[in-house]
């Protein structure tokens, strides 16, 4: 009897989590989709974003989000993977036990602090060294790249550790060097875990808002170089929601719908890859 009650209670709690996801999904699309139909797909996918004067084009923001995300991966993947390989293959237990929690601590720093560091240190550095405003794709990429490090490092590290030791022993037995073992054997064997880590990091980079608003400059124009300013979908929502009314508000929800779709696709891909044996 008690078991039954506990079971029902847990079921209810589990369902309520799923219900809130369903409600959020419903609400975002219900608020956003009508605007897309009202404005027309052509307008919605154009470059002209002037929501108070009937321009609802989100293309430049979609491109901005993608550029910043690719930039973040370009920073995050090499450093993250290198850190994971070092931790899993080259360091002693003591080093692992010290370094891994420290890297994971990066995930606990609030994004506004990352943005602040970006404004105070990175942006002036880029402006002085490379010219331009400093508020740029490059600044956002570097900061986001650091922000996604913990995700990439810890998932890749776990994937590398999960490769059975017999693989390594076999490899050394046929005379492979440590480097050959890592590149030719361990990385391919741990591939699905590593790719999942990268995709989850990518989701974080696309969804990040506060740090990006502070350091990307938010100009609507599509950047011509990595030293130009850039506007992402998330920044647009956060920047403009304060005063938005009517169609403008709908357009921001439409941005949210698009973001939602992107994140869902990324997550499905990540789940597919990790469940593949």
């Amino acid at each position: 009897m008690k078991d039954k009650i506990a079971e029902k209670l847990l079921l209810f709690v589990a369902l309520s989590a799923i219900m809130s996801l369903a409600l959020i999904t419903f609400f975002i699309f219900q608020q956003g989709i009508p605007l897309i139909f009202k404005a027309g797909l052509g307008n919605f996918l154009s470059l002209k974003w002037a929501p108070t004067r009937g321009g609802f084009g989100i293309l430049s923001m979609v491109i901005g989000s993608l550029m910043v995300t690719v930039g973040a991966l370009a920073v995050g993947i090499p450093f993250g993977l290198a850190a994971a390989i070092f931790l899993a293959e080259f360091s002693s237990k003591t080093i692992q036990k010290t370094l891994k929690p420290i890297i994971e601590l990066l995930a606990g720093i609030p994004s506004v602090v990352y943005g602040f560091i970006g404004i105070v240190i990175l942006v002036p550095f880029i402006r002085v060294t490379f010219g331009g405003p400093g508020f740029s794709v490059l600044a956002a990429s570097i900061i986001l790249g650091i922000m996604i490090l913990p995700t990439i490092v810890s998932i890749s590290y776990d994937a590398l550790l999960a490769v059975p030791n017999t693989y390594r022993e076999g490899s050394y037995a046929v005379g492979a060097t440590k480097w050959q073992t890592i590149v030719l054997l361990l990385l391919p064997a741990a591939r699905s875990g590593i790719v999942a880590g990268i995709i989850l990091g990518m989701g974080r980079a696309i969804g990040e808002t506060m740090a990006v608003i502070m350091i990307a400059g938010n100009a609507l124009k599509i950047p011509g170089s990595i030293f130009d300013s850039v506007r992402t979908l998330t920044s647009t929502i956060a920047l403009e929601l304060g005063y938005a009314a009517g169609d403008h508000r709908g357009a921001l929800f439409a941005c949210g719908s698009i973001l939602f779709l992107i994140i869902i696709v990324l997550n499905i891909v990540a789940i597919r890859i990790t469940s593949r044996k």
Partner: protein
């Protein structure tokens, strides 16, 4: 039990004057200033509760017309369709065009400012000043400050998509204060020593110039009423226009209405 009764009656007492409360709604630019005045007012008259809400100037006009608030606020003049409301000018908010504190620029014409924000003028050398790229910083779509800037300075021209965008006066100021090539616009009262307000067409946005309306780039902060004020509403409006209320507005960087009228 007695304590409980005391607590209940206290609660009832504090809830009772709700009927005599004043609800204010409208411009988000006016809101922080009115909130400050309301705080002082409620210290003086603890029995009158003032409730200040945002929503924007247009929402303020609507709410006043249909009576959902006692006093509306607006940071723009009323449109011809809104003329039925009574307006009370409480202060002027000047808009300053700012550059970095070390910038040699002191004076820009309206034409030059239009050029900078439409990106027709993209290099400082085009204005005869040393330095390369100009970095204009604007406010986000929907902002009241941006709307006033567009109306008063840009005219028919459109602010370029290549301008950096920030979502508050403070954020714009922060960028200009740290970017030697930057140009932005913020409320006059918020300009500090790290950046410099330029003269527009030869007129500096000083207090005097704003008061005698020689510097045209200011917007009115208005209270809106549907009918002659009575009771607590009247009391609050009188307080806003009193020397004390006006001083509070002035200390926030606005040009109090009593100074404008006095001249």
């Amino acid at each position: 039990m007695r304590l409980f009764l005391v607590a209940v009656s206290l609660c009832l007492l504090s809830c009772a004057p709700n009927k005599g409360g004043v609800i204010i709604a409208g411009s988000t630019s006016v809101q922080p200033f009115i909130e400050k005045v309301a705080e002082h007012f409620m210290e003086k008259y603890p029995e009158i509760k003032i409730n200040v809400q945002g929503g924007g100037s247009t929402a303020g006009v609507q709410a006043t017309m249909n009576g959902t608030c006692d006093i509306g606020t607006s940071s723009r003049n009323l449109k011809p369709t809104e003329q039925e409301l009574k307006t009370i000018l409480i202060a002027l908010d000047g808009i300053a065009v700012i550059v970095h504190g070390n910038s040699p620029v002191r004076d820009l014409t309206v034409e030059q400012i239009r050029g900078i924000f439409s990106r027709r003028i993209a290099e400082w050398s085009q204005l005869g000043v040393a330095g390369n790229e100009i970095i204009p910083v604007t406010r986000e779509e929907g902002s009241g400050t941006r709307a006033s800037f567009e109306e008063m300075i840009m005219g028919e021209e459109v602010i370029s998509d290549a301008c950096l965008v920030q979502d508050s006066n403070g954020a714009v100021r922060e960028i200009i204060a740290t970017t030697p090539q930057g140009v932005g616009y913020i409320s006059v009262g918020l300009v500090d020593e790290r950046e410099k307000a330029v003269a527009i067409d030869g007129t500096k946005p000083t207090l005097t110039n704003l008061i005698i309306e020689k510097y045209h780039f200011s917007r009115p902060f208005l209270l809106l009423l549907r009918e002659e004020p009575t009771g607590n509403v009247k009391k609050f409006i009188e307080y806003v226009l009193s020397d004390e209320g006006q001083e509070i507005l002035g200390s926030g960087g606005l040009i109090p209405a009593n100074k404008v009228v006095a001249d």
